[in-house]
Symmetry: C2
Subunit: 256 residues, 2 copies
């Protein structure tokens, strides 16, 4: 008898976020689930890792008997700790991260702790998927996202997964009946245009809150942002070679 696939679940919103428990429900029918999550919110951490403070791991059990681990690390740290410490004697079949409260389409991918966890897994050829729901609310409704995540997990586990790749899955807000379908997409060419809100503290000193909005410069049908605008689930294959190949020759003047 073959053992069920070992699925490592993490996120960047911490163990208290509804999104991670929605993902546990989505993944549980498809394998043995181990949760290793940050002990608090780590949104917008990008691919940060922890080098200057020691990492701690605490083991818990929830009322349903699911064992989970909380660490003081980042999402990328959680995957490293999973591979090298907590599950070091076992083969991880799939890493799933999320379900993130908020979109990770377009340039948000680069800021995302959710996706850093998936990319971290892809460095060592572990199949990995980051899931995000287009709803930043703490009380977001994960019903549709949970169904989609379960479907994608099941399909991915029964297909070969290429090396050094992971998936960035973004799911629209709303009812699943209203979704147009699931589309394989490319990263939309967009960026966050920031505005800093300047305020004064109680002593009259200025401080700044980062605010901003995504500017999408990409109208191609196959761009993630456009698929989402049309109410498709966007599935973007992600790799980590950031070389600008088409500009190699533009910089030959620097060679000597």
């Amino acid at each position: 008898m073959t053992s069920p696939p070992l699925i490592l679940i993490t996120n960047d919103d911490g163990y208290e976020a509804n999104g991670i428990w929605a993902l546990v429900e989505a993944a549980q029918p498809h394998g043995e689930v181990v949760i290793i999550s940050p002990d608090g919110p780590r949104s917008a951490m990008g691919h940060a890792i922890t080098m200057n403070v020691p990492l701690r791991i605490r083991k818990f059990e929830n009322p349903d008997g699911i064992q989970y681990y909380r660490t003081n690390g980042t999402p990328a740290d959680c995957v490293k700790l999973g591979q090298r410490v907590i599950l070091r004697d076992r083969k991880i079949d799939l890493v799933v991260s999320g379900i993130n409260h908020g979109s990770n389409s377009s340039a948000s991918l680069l800021y995302s702790g959710t996706m850093a966890a998936a990319i971290e897994a892809s460095f060592e050829d572990i199949p990995a998927i980051g899931f995000s729901l287009l709803d930043y609310s703490e009380k977001a409704d994960f019903t549709a996202a949970k169904t989609i995540a379960g479907e994608i997990i099941a399909k991915v586990l029964s297909h070969p997964f290429p090396e050094q790749v992971c998936l960035n899955v973004n799911i629209p807000k709303g009812n699943i009946e209203d979704f147009k379908g699931i589309k394989i997409t490319k990263q939309a060419h967009g960026y966050w245009h920031e505005d800093f809100e300047e305020r004064k503290d109680a002593f009259g000193r200025p401080y700044y809150w980062l605010t901003g909005h995504l500017v999408n410069k990409d109208c191609d049908d196959d761009a993630c942002q456009c698929a989402l605008d049309l109410n498709y689930v966007s599935v973007q294959p992600v790799q980590f070679d950031m070389t600008a190949y088409k500009h190699i020759n533009d910089f030959k003047f620097l060679e000597k």
Copy 2:
């Protein structure tokens, strides 16, 4: 009379690191320099940004009359604050980040705060370069790196710079006379293999220090790691579209 180029300097090692002052010396002959750096070390921050605490900016002047700003943010935040707050009425001609104490070749690019600052600038088409010296020591000798950085800054300022690209420059340790030259490279296919050192605290509880080494799987002559091994300066053009285009078809089975 045209005004000299406006050069924003930042880093991820903080304002006290020798590397940033080496970069100031390298850049000063080529333009007007403004320093906006983190108020302490922010290594391995990846593309983290600060959303949950307010950002503060403090202005200082060093004994040579150079004005510089320190923020409690990440390297990416420093660039955003430069664009939107500190230099909001001016056109930034070049962002330079570093000189980092330690290599940012291969997969290290994704963990690097130094490079996140450069990538952040490239989101909005500001030419940007991250510089790193292959020496992690706080007391590293920046003599050769300073010369190389000055040369590259001068050349970049007098050439057209493509949009949505930045440069990842890694400089070998040692004397400039021993360098083989400067090579345009691609990101070597490698990853960090982590080992966690388990220790016990004063109460007998375990904690973990992240350690590891870079595993290079790429022997191509034009890979950054190989150029560095041969004692070349590596200049990698970097872009931020992480779509795995060659695997788009591999995931069509998920469409519906």
